[in-house]
């Protein structure tokens, strides 16, 4: 809500998980179904459908896992973990082609979007109305915090760079992060990777693009470490400091 809408971009490009019910167009043995599903794990090619709002060119997508949950005659229930922008309907169609008989998607439910799953803190609209009214009655903030999460939750899967207080306000004004501001960072950051810049209190400052890898950043004494993409924290939350604290 409000300022947290800026983190939506990080979610759109995050990995997803779906549970999908598909219908085969002929009888196929379970072993054959399992075998073909196994072939679709890893990287696959996909052409976005005509309805899609993206450029229609063949693109590679990662299928992290494709688990067979249940088979009942021609009804097959699967769980798919995949990269953002994977068209499940097309995936099911292609699985049907590989099986030879054809298949179509009957029902789809998204069970994960980035760090958000069904099992933790998922609420319905009824829950929202109910918990909100409980807060209004009792003034107990715990009811609100039960379903309203800090926006940092949306950034849980992004690699992080923690910065010192004196670097924060400059970043809030759009400045790129430079080496002296870095306190700690996740291992495995690669150049051009999207990262989240955090304060030592764990507050999100901005979304940025790493210029170098973790190892290189550790060795740098000056220069830009991450290019500012989207400021999340309001200016003035931390004081404007022209010199670095010791």
């Amino acid at each position: 809500m409000q300022d947290a809408t800026k983190v939506i971009q990080a979610l759109l490009s995050a990995g997803k998980e779906y549970v999908c019910a598909m219908k085969l167009h002929a009888d196929v043995s379970q072993e054959r179904v399992r075998a073909v599903l196994g072939e679709f794990q890893g990287s696959i090619y996909q052409m976005p459908p005509i309805r899609a709002s993206v450029k229609r060119r063949v693109r590679v997508r990662k299928i992290y896992y494709l688990d067979l949950l249940e088979v009942d005659g021609r009804d097959v229930l699967i769980k798919v973990g995949c990269e953002a922008g994977t068209y499940i309907r097309k995936l099911i169609h292609d699985i049907g082609e590989a099986l030879g008989c054809g298949a179509h998607m009957h029902e789809l439910r998204r069970t994960r979007a980035g760090p958000f799953t069904e099992v933790e803190n998922l609420v319905t609209l009824h829950d929202v109305v109910y918990l909100f009214s409980l807060w209004q009655e009792t003034k107990d903030e715990g009811f609100l915090r039960k379903f309203i999460l800090p926006m940092e939750e949306a950034l849980k899967l992004l690699p992080k760079i923690y910065v010192r207080d004196s670097a924060v306000d400059a970043i809030c004004h759009g400045a790129h992060l430079t080496a002296p501001g870095v306190i700690s960072l996740d291992t495995g950051i690669k150049p051009k990777e999207q990262v989240a810049i955090f304060t030592l209190k764990g507050e999100a400052v901005s979304l940025a693009e790493a210029v170098s890898s973790t190892e290189e950043i550790l060795n740098m004494t000056h220069g830009v470490v991450a290019g500012n993409l989207r400021v999340l924290m309001p200016r003035g939350t931390y004081p404007r400091l022209w010199s670095l604290s010791r």
Binding site: G15, K62, I88, P115, P150
Partner: protein, 78 residues
Amino acid sequence: MQKVRPPWQVKGELVTKAEDETDPNFGHKPEERPIQEHIGFGVINLDKPPGPSSHEVTAWVKRILGVAHAGHGGTLEA
């Protein structure tokens, strides 16, 4: 085919470059934000009912919570 680990199964590890402390007079730990600020920087993991559009549901949430601005992270892409 080579199996790739999903991002949520990759365990993160932190490495320190420098030491410093944070001033308690500025900012808040996310879980300690004053409630109005918390709402203004909040996200809801919402199980959207199948009928209405994401846009409609977002409008309802805005009305229920009394916030002026809200967005959604998209629903099914298939």
